[in-house]
């Protein structure tokens, strides 16, 4: 903090956003909507408007023009009265609520959002030859423009990295007819997410497409000729001639501002934030790649460097900065979907995290691979690899809301889960329940109304820097619901009645196409003790205490959409300590080519035997 501040040039705004990536711009637009009169300023040193960065790979193969990359129509900032300052935020003076820009100019704020994104990790600093021309990282628009300019001169290229970004780059180069050498440090592709069968499937496809894949191989030096790349040397004592080296070894959050703040800001693999994106410093928020949010399954803080996560975080941060009381969305579990050549990859949750505690079913029929991780009858992790992309957001909803998958397990495993049909039936069940009981259904009533069931859920505080984990096992018997074919008539009657009682909030003109049910906003929730209970259970008690979060609350969709209201508790997951494995039961990880459910049989048998 030795910089001299030009105090006479201090300007200010209520909401200041550092960075104009998608998280920053989304936050600005949402804040404008929520706070029409506040002054909103984006400070960025980027020389172009916000773009759809995931679409850069389409730009790389000339499927998109630069204009088509724009995330919002040109002129959006001006139309939304969002001021854009082309400068870099150098320091934060949190005690006096102002930031210091390039050149020593001060800028005051009431709320500050750090949305500075991430940078490509690149090759190690001490790697010989790392500064030759022709070594690129592909992260920003300028990187892709640079690569496209070079493509006509390239015959051989080396791609370094073992994740989705690397394979997307390989596919791009193959598209342009370039010979590709792909170096992967691990012995499998994307080892943090894919198991070996899935990795083998991907690598086999990419080899067939023409790439040379080198596993357990790293670059130990780059050889140049007159300043340009001429080849790389690997740890396998190979020399691979090439004119281009593309480094796809991940990204690192830009947390410089956290260290250049006059108050200590908690930072570990990103700036630690809570569910409302608040950092540990008052009035300072973080969103996008730079923010480390808590994973409800693992409890660990980590950035989610994905498009959808950045958009959502921008909206939530905007609500918090604008002083809006509303926010109904929560981050939930990680979700990642992308195309890997001919294959579509989807991961929801952390499938590998549950390898010791969950029942794992796999299916590799019809050129696809799916891995389903289940604890009791709840989905906790999902991996799909195949020619078609499942409805990932619906599967994420199943996990986030803790739906029972008893009746859709096989469909999930076979990749035939019809989310529209499933959730439509859920709404019908809720309506039926209202017709036959005259009551609004508790959220759990939506899950399997035809039979009694045992439900297990947990609740975890998601405060940023608090960690009280609570869990409870609760057995709930659901009343059998008559499946009268005339229920639609009854539903309409019930809706009319309930509307007169003013217990249901109907949507505004542009909100309601289909009826969604669940708890009305003003309806008091039943406590667990008031619900009918089944004493005997085939489930083993889970090792925690606390109250169970109601799951499947479809009313979360009923409020005005952009409404943003912090949900105090948003996780139903239990983290099993390794020492509790015996209590929980043996982990079963088997391959089920026919997707039979015999894993359950063994599991229940083990429980009966008292294991």
């Amino acid at each position: 903090m030795t910089r001299h501040i030009k105090m006479n040039s201090v300007d200010n705004a209520e909401i200041v956003i550092a960075g104009n990536g998608i998280a920053g711009l989304t936050a600005a637009i949402e804040a404008r909507r929520l706070a029409p009169d506040k002054r909103i300023v984006i400070i960025t040193d980027q020389n172009h408007p916000t773009i759809n960065t995931p679409a850069l790979k389409q730009f790389a193969i000339d499927k998109l023009t630069r204009e088509q990359l724009l995330a919002y129509p040109a002129g959006t900032e001006r139309a939304q009265r969002i001021h854009v300052i082309n400068a870099r935020v150098e320091e934060i003076h949190a005690q006096q609520n102002f930031v210091c820009l390039t050149g020593g100019r001060g800028f005051g704020y009431e709320s500050l959002l750090i949305a500075t994104g991430s940078v490509a990790t690149g090759l190690p600093q001490n790697l010989p030859g790392r500064d030759f021309d022709g070594i690129l990282t592909l992260h920003r628009l300028n990187d892709y423009l640079d690569m496209r300019r070079r493509l006509s001169e390239i015959e051989d290229a080396v791609v370094v990295g073992g994740g989705p970004h690397a394979i997307e780059t390989v596919v791009c180069l193959l598209y342009w007819g370039i010979r590709v050498h792909w170096l992967i440090r691990s012995d499998t592709f994307f080892p943090s997410t894919l198991d070996r069968p899935a990795s083998d499937m991907v690598l086999e496809r990419i080899r067939r497409a023409g790439a040379k894949v080198y596993t357990q191989t790293e670059v130990i030096g780059v050889v140049g000729r007159v300043g340009s790349v001429n080849g790389v040397v690997t740890n396998q004592h190979q020399f691979l001639p090439c004119q281009l080296v593309l480094v796809c070894t991940g990204t690192t959050p830009v947390t410089t501002l956290a260290t250049h703040c006059d108050l200590p800001m908690k930072c570990m693999r990103g700036i630690l934030v809570d569910d409302q994106l608040r950092s540990s410093v008052r009035s300072i928020y973080a969103a996008g790649d730079v923010a480390a949010i808590r994973d409800p399954q693992s409890g660990e803080y980590a950035p989610r460097a994905q498009w959808y996560a950045a958009v959502l975080q921008g909206r939530i941060a905007a609500a918090a900065m604008a002083g809006s009381a509303v926010h109904e969305e929560s981050f939930g579990v990680p979700w990642h979907a992308t195309r890997l050549g001919e294959l579509s990859l989807l991961t929801v949750g952390n499938p590998f995290q549950w390898r010791y505690t969950a029942t794992t079913l796999t299916d590799d029929s019809k050129g696809s691979y799916r891995r389903v991780s289940i604890v009791d009858d709840r989905l906790v992790g999902y991996l799909s690899l195949g020619p078609s992309q499942p409805d990932g957001l619906a599967i994420k909803k199943l996990i986030d809301e803790g739906h029972s998958i008893r009746h859709i397990e096989k469909a999930l495993l076979k990749g035939k889960f019809d989310a529209r049909k499933y959730f439509s039936h859920q709404r019908s069940y809720a309506a039926q329940y209202m017709v036959h009981t005259g009551k609004l259904p508790a959220p759990d009533a939506l899950e399997a109304p035809h039979q009694s069931q045992t439900q297990v859920g947990t609740l975890r505080e998601t405060g940023p820097l608090t960690s009280s984990d609570k869990a409870i096992t609760q057995n709930v018997a659901m009343n059998r619901v008559n499946t009268d074919p005339l229920y639609e008539v009854h539903v309409q009657n019930a809706l009319d009645t309930l509307a007169q009682q003013k217990t249901i909030v109907f949507f505004e003109e542009n909100e309601s196409l289909f009826f969604e049910s669940g708890l009305a906003p003003n309806q008091p929730k039943q406590r667990p003790s008031e619900l009918p209970c089944v004493i005997d259970s085939t489930l083993v008690a889970l090792p925690s205490n606390g109250s169970r979060r109601n799951s499947g609350n479809l009313w979360s969709y009923s409020e005005k959409l952009p409404a943003v209201k912090a949900r105090p508790k948003n996780s139903q997951f239990i983290i099993f300590p390794r020492s509790d494995k015996k209590e929980i039961g043996r982990t079963q990880e088997r391959k089920h080519p026919s997707s039979s459910l015999w894993a359950y049989t063994e599991k229940h048998a083990a429980v009966k035997k008292g294991h």
């Binding site: 759809n52 499927k63 129509p73 498009w307 959808y308 992308t338 989807l346 196409l513 959409l561």
Partner: protein
């Protein structure tokens, strides 16, 4: 046909990465409709003439669904856009 609710549509629109694959696969797309404008007008605000023309031309063939790299449902979004058009008087 079973469709998605508005909150689900909004969630999918927020997850759209703007790769344009859905429009490239569309046999009915007319004129120059950009994905950012289409996304914005699907959800709220006034509907421009090119978007309205495109929505009218869409016959829900679902050719746009399979190419989406993140598994979104442009057909459901288009259905919602059609509903918005009807409500705002474009269908009259």
């Amino acid at each position: 046909m079973l469709h998605k609710t508005l909150p689900q549509i909004a969630q999918e629109l927020h997850a759209c990465i703007g790769c344009n694959e859905c429009l490239l696969a569309c046999p009915a797309v007319t004129g120059s409709v950009s994905i950012d404008v289409l996304n914005r007008e699907t959800l709220s605000g006034p509907i421009s003439v090119p978007v309205a023309r495109f929505a009218r031309a869409c016959y829900q063939c679902s050719a746009c669904v399979a190419p989406c790299p993140v598994g979104l449902h442009r057909d459901a979004m288009m259905m919602w856009l059609k509903v918005r058009m009807l409500r705002s008087g474009w269908g009259e």
